[in-house]
Structures are given as structure tokens and as C-alpha cells.
């Protein structure tokens, strides 16, 4: 009889307690909450912090416009640096400002339809967009791992899901409405201000505030979701065939276990089958417990993981795609993700797993491996060719400097482009070599924001301004 991941882990925890007695206390020991910045600063300004807690600022002014006119008026007079913010899910310092923080929460909802293309207010959270599109029988072609982000933030950072034939979210955008720092409203698309459009589709919130997006949608099809564990070596060997076969396919290399967690989605007309309760958080807790208990010995940790997890039962669910493609992530973390040429993706992944298992016994988060189709946005990491993404995570209470010192050099050596919203140290001249239209983007940026009012110190460094 096979058991679910939840059953296996609960039984495993019991076995662990019986076997090592006080080991349970070690396994479940939690680090203290990291120290937090004060709720207000000396000027009385309220703290803003990103989702993981690694970025923060005390904006002098917070704007929450509800109309295009309010956005335009606000931008004309706003204290610089002016930074738009959605859900605050970026790990890089894109949003922090001690000037003006512009929330897009009031610019939300579906504005209208042009055929099967939806015109969507840019502050709409992806989690709310799914049911709103479904009410019209439509859906986004793909969704990221989480759906908490605002649409504008997801587009600004080239946020993506997985699927060899499916583009990142911005790949389905056909037109944008941008309010410049001077309050000018620009409608751009492939046949209208095309340069601004290609620059703006992925633009880090640096050209102004995007308030409206026209985007392609697909039929709201039912998907079959399958989740299973298998040896990491098998996942490596079968990855290309699975990317070719499945609508969506990704896998997580689980360090110190010899295992991979694989997830596929395919269209189906079969009846709905409930997704069931979240298993990932329990899985993560178990991995953390094994790290705490057996982190001193990689072989012991791997043996324990294979015993506890090796025979777990696959999971299956069938439902509309917007209900399945994203997952709740209640455990906060910091993350680095690079997008690599597909030919070296798996080799790089194997190298990363090996170096983590050799040098970082504190790591327990699974490493995510995805595939994304190409597009033509100037600052898209998928510009010009398909890319294979690898994402390495660290629990929000854990030290994450190793991402820069140990992991980023591997990504760079394999020709990776950084995810704009995730941790990286790549800047100006290095980016120019990665992006053929880098300087064209900088020209559009200078044209739309000659005084650099949208640039905080991080963006000035990134753009070499």
C-alpha cells in the first residue's frame, strides 16, 4: 500500500522521535524571528517591507490612485524617487523609496474586452484575475508558482510559469497604457509607439506607471495536475521528453534526498477531482526537520529522506487551470533565479545540487527547474530564445549570502540572465552584454524620464545612470 506525502511524513516524524528520542526537539527547533526594522522611522513614516522582509523603506508619501487622472496628477507632483508597487513580491530593491510609493491596488479589475483579448487594470492581483476571466470562459495561458502578485509587477519583472511552448506573462500582452513621470498618457502596442511598447512590456517600473494592459487569453480549459516523487537522476534524464510532452512541466531537485518532485499539467475533459489540502508546506517542514536533525551527515540525511519519502503516493487533481497552476506559499523565503540557455540548464542544475550538498548543509529548500518559450520584449530574459530557469531558495530565517557567492557564479558561467525580481548582483555593463536591445531600452527610459524621477538608488546602479 502506498501512502500520501502527508502520511509518509507524519509516520516518518513518529519513527524519528522513537529512534532518536530528544531528536524531535532538535528537528522541530525553529530559529528566532529575524530582527525587524521599526514600524515607523524618526520622521513618523510607516515602514514598507517586501514579502520576504529583505527590502524595506520609509516612504515620505504613499499614493493610492483610483483613476488614470489621479495617477497622472500624482506623478506630476510626486516627491522623487517615485516607485510603483504591487504586492511587494520582488526580492530585489525595485520598490523601496523614501520618496513616493505608488500603490496600484486601486487600479484593479477587468475594464473590457476586445474579442478574446482582455483589457485589465494593471493593479489587478493575479489571484483575482483568474476567476474574473473564468466568468467569461477565458483564462491566462499560464500562471506563476504563486498568484499574489499585481499584474503590473508580474509584467515589470518578466514573471513566468513553466511550459516549453508557453511564454512568460508579458508574452501575451498586445497593448499597454503608460503614464509617464510628467503625467503624459501613452497608449502603445505593436503598431503604435512600437519602441516604447517593446521597452515597456518588461520595464521594472522605470518608465512611469503602467495602468492598463491588453492581453491575449485562452479558453478556460480544465487541466489534470500530477505530482510525484522520483529519483533525481530519473528527473534529469526524462526532463526534455516531459517538457516536449506536457503542457506544463517542472520539477524540483530536493537537495540531500536524491529525489525530485515533479509536476505536470495537461488539458483534459475529465470530471473535476479536488486538489486536496496543501502538502508542500508539510513537505518543507519535514525537509527542515531532517536538516536540523541530520544536517551533520549528508549520507544519513539522504538515507532518512529515501526511507521517509521514497514510497509516497503520487497526487492528482483535475480543475480549471487558474485553480491549479499556482500554489499557496505560506513559508517565506529569499530566492535567486536565473534563466539559462536550454542546452545547459540540466548540467547547471546538477552542478548546483552537487555544490550545495558539498558545501551548504543548511539548505533544505527544493530547487525549482522550469522551461519558458521565447518572446521579443527588449528586457525579457527570454528574449530571442527559449530559456531554462533554475531557482534556488533560502528560508527567510536562514543566511542567503551563499546565493551570491556560490550559486550566482555558476549561473553566470552558463550564460544565465537574472530574473528581474529575484536576488542577483548583475548591473549595467554586464547586462548590456546579455541583452541586445539594452541600450535601446536605456534611450527610451531617458526619453520618458529625463530627470530620472522613477529611479531609486538600486535602479540607478542597475542602469548605470
Amino acid at each position: 500500500m502506498k501512502v500520501s506525502r502527508r502520511d509518509a511524513l507524519l509516520v516518518g516524524a513518529g519513527v524519528g522521535v522513537a529512534a532518536v528520542g530528544g531528536g524531535y526537539a532538535v528537528a522541530t527547533h525553529d530559529k528566532p524571528e529575524p530582527s525587524a526594522p521599526p514600524t515607523t522611522d524618526a520622521r513618523g513614516h510607516l515602514l514598507w517591507r517586501n514579502w520576504s522582509g529583505v527590502q524595506h523603506a520609509y516612504p515620505a508619501v504613499r499614493l493610492a490612485p483610483k483613476t488614470e487622472a489621479e495617477v497622472a496628477q500624482g506623478l506630476r507632483t510626486a516627491v522623487a524617487p517615485v516607485r510603483p508597487v504591487g504586492a511587494g513580491h520582488s526580492f530585489t530593491a525595485l520598490a523601496p523609496t523614501n520618496g513616493t510609493l505608488v500603490s496600484l491596488d486601486g487600479i484593479s479589475g477587468i475594464i473590457g474586452w476586445e474579442g478574446d483579448e482582455a483589457v485589465v487594470a494593471a493593479g489587478t492581483r493575479l489571484g483575482g484575475l483568474g476567476p474574473a476571466l473564468a466568468a467569461k470562459g477565458r483564462a491566462m495561458a499560464n500562471l506563476p508558482d504563486i498568484n499574489k502578485q499585481a499584474l503590473a509587477g508580474a509584467l515589470a519583472t518578466a514573471t513566468h510559469g513553466t511550459g516549453a511552448t508557453i511564454k512568460a506573462l508579458h508574452g501575451d500582452v498586445t497593448a499597454l497604457r503608460l503614464v509617464t513621470p510628467q503625467g503624459e498618457v501613452i497608449d502603445c502596442g505593436e503598431d503604435r509607439d512600437a519602441d516604447i511598447f517593446q521597452a515597456a512590456k518588461v520595464s521594472l517600473g522605470a518608465l512611469g506607471v503602467i495602468i492598463q494592459v491588453r492581453m491575449k487569453t485562452t479558453a478556460n480549459r480544465r487541466l489534470e495536475r500530477n505530482v510525484w516523487l522520483e529519483p533525481f537522476e530519473d528527473a534529469l534524464a526524462k526532463a526534455e521528453e516531459r517538457w516536449a510532452r506536457h503542457r506544463n512541466y517542472e520539477f524540483y531537485a530536493v537537495p540531500f534526498t536524491g529525489l525530485a518532485a515533479c509536476i505536470s499539467h495537461d488539458e483534459t475533459d475529465a470530471p473535476a477531482l479536488a486538489r486536496g489540502p496543501d502538502q508542500d508546506t508539510i513537505f518543507l517542514d519535514a525537509l527542515k526537520g531532517m536538516r536540523n536533525l541530520l544536517g551533520f551527515s549528508a549520507p544519513l540525511r539522504k538515507a532518512a529522506a529515501k526511507t521517509l519519502l521514497g514510497g509516497t503516493k503520487p497526487e492528482k487533481a483535475i480543475d480549471e487551470g487558474w485553480k491549479l497552476l499556482s500554489t499557496e506559499r505560506p513559508v517565506r523565503f529569499n530566492e535567486m533565479e536565473f534563466h539559462l540557455p536550454v542546452g545547459v540548464q540540466l548540467k547547471a542544475l546538477a552542478e548546483i545540487v552537487a555544490v550545495i550538498e558539498k558545501e551548504r548543509p543548511d539548505v533544505f529548500f527544493p530547487i525549482e527547474c522550469r522551461r519558458i518559450a521565447p518572446d521579443d520584449a527588449w528586457l525579457s530574459p527570454f528574449q530571442g530564445e527559449p530559456r531554462g530557469s533554475i531557482a534556488v531558495h533560502a528560508h527567510y530565517k536562514d543566511e542567503f549570502a551563499f546565493l551570491y557567492t556560490l550559486i550566482e557564479p555558476i549561473f553566470r558561467r552558463y550564460g544565465g540572465r537574472p530574473h528581474w525580481g529575484k536576488l542577483h548582483s548583475v548591473t549595467g555593463g554586464q547586462l548590456e552584454t546579455m541583452y541586445p536591445r539594452w541600450n535601446d531600452f536605456l534611450k527610451v527610459r531617458a526619453q520618458l524620464d529625463p530627470d530620472g524621477r522613477m529611479l531609486n538608488p538600486y535602479l540607478k546602479g542597475l542602469f548605470g545612470v
Binding site: A36, R49, D105, S108, E328
Partner: protein, 118 residues
């Protein structure tokens, strides 16, 4: 002294006699919203994504059993945890437009303590 003991027991029983309302069902939780229109919008845009869905790890809206231990820490502590982020709770509940008084009102609403507004 015996009388005082009986009185204390009686008061204790009286205090305990106010039943804690049962936790809402998943459907009821999804339907709950603050009466104030501005708060309802802020709640729908931010808090609801986690606090109205069982299993996200966040205490469910109006689930007094989950909220009461938190409420005992005091509103100032809850406000700090909300603004700074705490454990699974992201800073500000991902509500950039919320003011401290908005946060306090939203916490009271979710904790089932709207009668404590002041």
C-alpha cells in the same frame, strides 16, 4: 472567605459562559467583509487572499479560537507584527495603501473583535 471563593468561581463561570462563536465554514469565510466600504476594499485586495481561505496557514477571518491567543498579545503588538511582517505574515499584509488605523480596524474585523473599536 468561603463566600469570596464561591463568588470568584461564579464570576469565573460567568466569564466563561459567553460562548466563543464557532469558526466560519470555508464558504462563510469567503463571504465575510468589513461593513465599511474602504476597509472592505482593502480587505478584499490584500487580507482576504490568505485570511479567508482555510489551509493557508493564516488565522481564518472570524475564527475566534485561532485569533484569541493572538488578540491577548494586545493590539500594539499585532500592529507591529502586521507592519513588520511576522512568521508567515508578509509585512503590511501586502497592503501598501493601508494606514495604521486601517490595519487596526482590519485586525479587529478579522479577529471578530469589532466591538473593541475605539
Amino acid at each position: 472567605m468561603r463566600f469570596l471563593g464561591v463568588l470568584a468561581v461564579a464570576l469565573g463561570l460567568a466569564a466563561c459562559s459567553r460562548p466563543v462563536p464557532p469558526a466560519p465554514t470555508a464558504e462563510q469565510a469567503l463571504a465575510l467583509a468589513p461593513a465599511d466600504a474602504r476597509l472592505a476594499t482593502l480587505y478584499a485586495d490584500s487580507c482576504k487572499a490568505c485570511h479567508a481561505i482555510p489551509g493557508t496557514g493564516a488565522p481564518l477571518v472570524h475564527d475566534r479560537k485561532a485569533w484569541d491567543p493572538r488578540w491577548k498579545q494586545g493590539e500594539a503588538v499585532l500592529l507591529d507584527h502586521t507592519v513588520q511582517g511576522f512568521q508567515a505574515m508578509p509585512a503590511g499584509g501586502q497592503c501598501v495603501a493601508c494606514t495604521p488605523s486601517d490595519f487596526n480596524a482590519l485586525i479587529r474585523f478579522m479577529a471578530g473583535r469589532e466591538d473593541s473599536a475605539g
